[in-house]
Structure formats: C-alpha cells, structure tokens
C-alpha cells in the first residue's frame, strides 16, 4: 500500500467510521463490541484497499462487517440475554427513552441473525432490497420475506408493546 492509498484509507475511516460503528452497534448491542467489530472489518479491508477504493468501499466494508459479525455469532459466547421483562419502574417517564432503547435492543437480540442484519441494513442504512441482498449474499425475495417476518416479530414482541407504530399492526 503506497502513501496515497494509506491516505485514502485514513480519510475513509475518518469520514465513515462513525456511521459504520453505528451499524456495528445495531448488530451487536454493545459499543465496545461494535468498535471491536469495526476494527476487525477495517483490518480485513486494509490490505485490499488498492482494489476496493475505486469502487464502493463503504459497501465492501459493510459486507465484511456483517459477515464478520455473522461468524462471531457462531463462535462467541453471547453473554447474558434476559429472557423475562424487567419489572416496571415507578418513575418510568424519567427513563422512557432509555427504556425504549433497551427494549428495542433486547428485541433485536431475539431476532435471528439474518433478520437482524436485514433490518439494520434496510431500515437504518437505507439500503435498497437489492443492495441488502447483494451484501448478504441472498436473493431479493429472501430480503423481502425476512424483513417482513422481522417486522412481524418485533410487532408481536411483548417487550415492545407501546413502542410506536412498530406495534401498531402495520397499517
């Protein structure tokens, strides 16, 4: 990698690092893990930068990120995952935002990994169905059906009752 490529890589990390870390967080539900995931993905892209910088490097890194996360899912201990709803707090309003985040994060944790990746890429990254299919190596039809199932699961998730329109029935 020559000086220009190193500069290009550094510029990319500076410009897109935060956005990619946000995606990583939505996949992992943990900021430290998200940074770990992002750095691992960038380290994999780094030696190939010459070949990918001219195309769509962010799409490429995002694909590595999702694939790396998928492999982590298989081999890493995932820590404690609450299976019961926490008791309601008396002063719920003061923590409403935090509660909503926790509830959504926990609900995402309960989705199958591919559905979660599709939800994040489709609705957070604003990728088209075709782009999501390309990134995950699945068909567009699979993206459509899995996204629909994921939304249905979130709609029915008990922890998200009252969480805006996600639980409103889809109409």
């Amino acid at each position: 990698m020559d000086g220009n490529e190193r500069a290009s890589f550094a510029e990319f990390v500076a410009a897109r690092g935060q956005a990619l870390q946000r995606t990583a967080y939505l996949l992992t539900s943990d900021w430290a893990l998200a940074e770990d995931l992002l750095q691992t993905s960038l380290a994999r892209a780094y030696p190939r930068w010459d070949g990918i910088a001219g195309d769509d490097p962010e799409a490429y890194v995002r694909k590595i990120l999702v694939n790396t996360w998928s492999s982590w899912w298989r081999r890493r201990w995932r820590g404690e995952v609450p299976t019961e709803r926490l008791p309601e707090h008396a002063a719920a309003d003061a923590f409403a935002t935090s509660d909503r985040r926790s509830a959504l994060s926990a609900a995402l944790d309960r989705l199958p990994k591919r559905q979660r990746a599709i939800v994040v890429l489709r609705y957070h990254e604003d990728m088209s169905e075709a782009q999501v299919a390309h990134a995950l190596g699945v068909s567009v039809g699979t993206v459509k059906s899995q996204a629909s199932r994921a939304l249905a699961k979130l709609r029915d998730d008990a922890a998200l009752v009252g969480y805006g329109a996600v639980t409103a029935g889809g109409e």
Partner: protein, 370 residues
C-alpha cells in the same frame, strides 16, 4: 417503493437506538493497522500448520465413512479414473442427502459415481458448501463427467448447485464461487498447504493475495468484484506456488494480459497462424493458410466447459468440443487445409443442454502442422 408505517417506525427506532453514539477512539486507525499486522502474523503461522489440518481432515473422513455406511447413496465410492482421489473433507454439518435432493431438483438427473470431496461449513463463515464429482445424464443423452458444487446460505436448508467440467486428476486446487460471485472457496489437494488468489483484473498487472490458512483443506476469501456464476478458478499455469486464477470481469480483454502473452509449446514444427483472447463468444476468421497441413488449435480456457469451437474452411466445417478448462493449453486437431485456404474459428462459448451459458475466458491459438 413507499415505506409502510411499520418500516418508517423501525427506521426512527433504529436512529434513536444508535443515536447516543460515543466518540470514536482517537487511535482507531492505529488499532486497525495493529490488527492487520497481527492477522498477517497469524496467517503465516497458520499456513505452516496447514499440513496438520489436512491430517485432521483425514481422520474426520474415516469417521464419516463409518457413520454413513447405512446410506449407500451418499457413501464414499471408489474414484473413477477421471475423478480426483482427494479424501473427503467433512465436518458433519452438511446433510448430504439434502444436498443430493437439491442437486436433483436443479436438473442434474441420473447422478451416479458420486464422489464427495467437501461437505462442510466454510472456515469463518456460516456458509455451507458441498463439492462432489459425479456423472449425470443418462442414455441417450450424453453422460457428463462433472464437478458439482452446491452452496447454502441458510444453514443447509436450500442449496444452489452449479456444474463444472471435471478438473484434471493432477489438479491441486479447485476454486468455486457462490451464486452471488463474491465468496470464493478454495479446496486443495492433500499436501498443499497454502493457496494464493491471482486476480487478473488489469492488462498491466496482477493482483495477488493469500487465502487464509487452510482448514480441513479449504479456505474462503471474499472478492470485492463478483465472479460470474459458474466461474471456475484454476491453478495459475506455471506458477511456482499453488495459486488460483480468477477472471472476474472483462477488463482483461483490454490490452494484452500476461496470461494472453504466454505462448503454447509448438511441437512438430507447427507454424503459428494467429491467436485470440477473450471471453464468451467471438473468435476470428479469414486466416489464410500459407501451406498445406492440419489446423491445430491449442486452447487455454478458464470457465465452465464444454466450450464449442467451430472451425470452417472452404470445404469443411468441424465442431471441436473443448472439454478441459483448467487454465492449461490443450491441443485439438482441426481439418486439413491446402495453401491459400481461408480458415475461420468461431468460439460459441458454452451452451449445454443445462442452460449453462459459459462465458469461458480462453486463449485460442491457431497453428498449422505441415
């Protein structure tokens, strides 16, 4: 497409969830470089352990054979003369009966002489692969010697199969891409401890990178540029190391890549008449024979086989089925010609009855044997 209320709500919820983002670590870039260096070091060490990994593969084969004895349709069979004699690499995560079911669903009928080479989850991925050699087709249709690869991205529920011409028994590495063309799996013969990827993307150079250390004889790599479905990767001709050649776009047709410039050996005083390089169809015409003799075609091909060449002269038309696409030159004898005859060679690509459109990349070298 308009978003539904659910989708809009999900978008808002995700924005909120990811909104309270901590500041980026100030040494993120340095951290990336450190990880990269560690990864390189780990790969070097891992490559040295490749042979040990192959031994482990052999052990798992014997286990697999014992456990599959009651299922003759998926049991190991003696290798036919045209089949690779590599051991089966099997990690027990692939339902072989299910693979055969899906292969059958996709038109590969009359499957027999099935020899499994790989049935496992690829290292560091969730993708399952199955690689087997088999005959398919039945009389009166031609029986095909094929390398069949199948890949599943959903944990082994559904499989997508591709067919390739059976590689030479001396082949050291076979490489296949998934149906999206980005994931490339290399499967190596016993004794091969590392695999390199050669990407001839430009006329003026070659991109090269190493696969990760082989696990159970296999390794995967992700290509930024999609391969065409059905692409076959083969060892780089004459390479000092075990490498794969990957043709992943048409840019190689611009200029004269090194691959194109390598001339075949011309035994018996063959006189060079011309050569062409390209993918898919094409060919050339109106070569004038300087003397009487036999047209000799030396074809170096990468891609799905068979590839059909039609050689025409003033008085004859001859079809030549190029049945080896392993990246090496193979010789095919064409028609007899006399001095002044016009010779045409038409590359019809690959159009078999299974709808494989081919897109072979080939060097077609035409010479005359006096």
């Amino acid at each position: 497409m308009a978003l539904t209320t659910d989708e809009q709500a999900m978008r808002g919820a995700l924005q909120e969830l990811g909104g309270a983002q901590p500041d980026a670590p100030i040494d993120r870039l340095d951290g990336v470089r450190r990880r990269y260096r560690r990864r390189r070091t780990a790969q070097s060490v891992g490559a040295a352990l490749g042979v040990a990994a192959l031994v482990a593969g052999g052990l798992s084969v014997s286990t697999a054979l014992r456990t599959t004895r009651h299922h003759p349709s998926i049991a190991a069979t003696p290798a036919q003369p045209w089949q690779l004699t590599w051991p089966e690499r099997n990690d027990g995560t692939v339902d072989k009966q299910r693979v055969l079911f899906w292969v059958g669903q996709q038109g590969f009928e009359g499957l027999h002489n099935v020899r499994w080479l790989y049935a496992a989850t690829a290292p560091d991925t969730i993708t399952k692969w199955a690689i087997l050699e088999a005959n398919y087709g039945a009389s009166p249709s031609p029986v095909v010697n094929a390398l069949i690869t199948a890949v599943s991205h959903d944990g082994g529920d559904k499989w997508t199969a591709q067919t390739h011409g059976a590689p030479l028994v001396s082949t050291e590495v076979v490489g296949v891409a998934d149906q999206q063309g980005h994931a490339v799996l290399a499967l190596a013969a016993p004794g091969v401890d590392s695999v390199d990827l050669i990407k001839m993307r430009r006329a003026d150079g070659i991109d090269e990178e190493s696969f990760p250390p082989l696990v159970n004889g296999a390794a995967t790599i992700t290509s930024a540029t999609a391969l065409k479905p059905g692409s076959t990767l083969v060892r780089k001709p004459g390479a000092p190391s075990t490498s794969l050649v990957l043709f992943d776009d048409d840019q190689q047709a611009v200029g004269e890549p090194m691959w194109w410039n390598t001339s075949p050996v011309r035994p018996r005083g063959d006189v060079r008449l011309g050569s062409s390089f390209g993918g898919g169809g094409g060919g050339f015409s109106n070569i004038v024979s300087p003397q009487a003799g036999t047209v000799v075609l030396q074809v170096r091909c990468v891609g799905p086989v068979p590839m059909r060449l039609i050689v025409t002269t003033k008085t004859t038309t001859q079809d030549l089925d190029v049945d080896r696409c392993d990246g090496l030159f193979h010789t095919y004898l064409g028609p007899q010609v006399v001095s002044g005859d016009h010779i045409g060679v038409d590359n019809k690509g690959s159009h078999d009855r299974y709808g494989d459109l081919g897109d072979n990349e080939a060097v077609i070298d035409v010479s005359l044997r006096p």
